[in-house]
Symmetry: C2
Subunit: 164 residues, 2 copies
DNA sequence: ATTGATTTGTTGACATGTCAATCATGCACG
DNA sequence: CGTGCATGATTGACATGTCAACAAATCAAT
């Protein structure tokens, strides 16, 4: 596993560098755009967007965490802050006394409605507009395959309890 | 800029979802692999890798920050921790009394030599092996174009002082 | 040379994320 | 029914990153 390492050749290094820079830089650029043009951070936007996609704008915390693939504690901390800001509200869950229902407040709804156009424009202008159709398709399948490969290697899940 | 937003259609949403998941998940998967198989975190690996590429294994803090496109304070905090762990050492800079030269210690060198094969294997097995040549090339050009587009929009730089 | 702007780096306050521990509830199976 | 394990969520300690303020050295321009 050590002596027979297949190192990256020149061309592979360039691809890897481009991808690494994209992965490191894209999220913060997106955050910057959101914070500049709205009152929401990227993670706050994610939560509100998830809530928007639910029928009634209400989701259990568990389901939000699953939809976003986040740790529970991360969501819990964030929801506490968002609740303090008045973006979401929590009500007890009737069917399961352990759970909580998270809903958007009017302020939360207003915030995401205001933020969404700029966010979508950012995605369209920086991902779809610059790429040819072929490149877009290839990007799609490449991203899907890479993720599948990492999953198969058991390195994707956050809480990696590899059934020790 | 608000009423004429071009929203994403079904297919575009799928591409965007795949890319977003990749961007969010890849880095932490890489970190997980490194921490599992070595004593280095992803950011520590980055610093040591940058130092490795310098001729004599010595770089000024400024140049490391530039190479990694990091904020100065981030690097400063990290170097303090890495120095405490004995991975790097700092010496004053002769030519510029403000600067510091950062060098790898023997322990730092040992650590990255031990971590590198696993890291390269991770990259090869999860990026290059699963993709066809066409996909790899398309991924390369797509990543490059997306980054160029974000740069052109002025949203790439960390310290965005947009010449107000 | 002196002044003022720029560069280099550190620091401290704060925001955010991870991890392990905790607690209450629900569920499965005897 | 209980008993024990799984689930949902919170908490606190800690790791890490950002931001703005700072200090010291250099540079530029007169």
């Amino acid at each position: 596993m050590s002596s027979d390492t297949r190192w990256l050749d020149k061309g592979e290094q360039e691809v890897w560098r481009a991808l690494r820079e994209l992965i490191w830089g894209f999220e913060s650029a997106m955050d910057r755009q959101l914070i500049r043009d709205s009152e929401l951070s990227g993670v706050e936007y994610s939560v509100l967007a998830a809530l928007s996609e639910a029928e009634d704008g209400v989701m259990r915390a568990r389901d939000i965490a699953q939809a976003l693939d986040w740790e529970r504690s991360r969501l819990s901390h964030l929801l506490k802050r968002m609740e303090a800001k008045g973006l979401v509200a929590r009500t007890e869950c009737e069917s399961d006394a352990r759970g909580f229902n998270i809903s958007m407040t009017a302020a939360g709804h207003k915030a995401i409605v205001r933020a969404a156009p700029g966010h979508v424009s950012f995605v369209r202008e920086n991902i779809f507009d610059p790429l040819t159709e072929d490149e877009r398709d290839a990007l799609h399948s490449a991203a899907t395959k890479i993720q599948a490969s990492i999953r198969a290697a058991g390195l994707w899940e956050n809480r990696g309890a590899p059934k020790a």
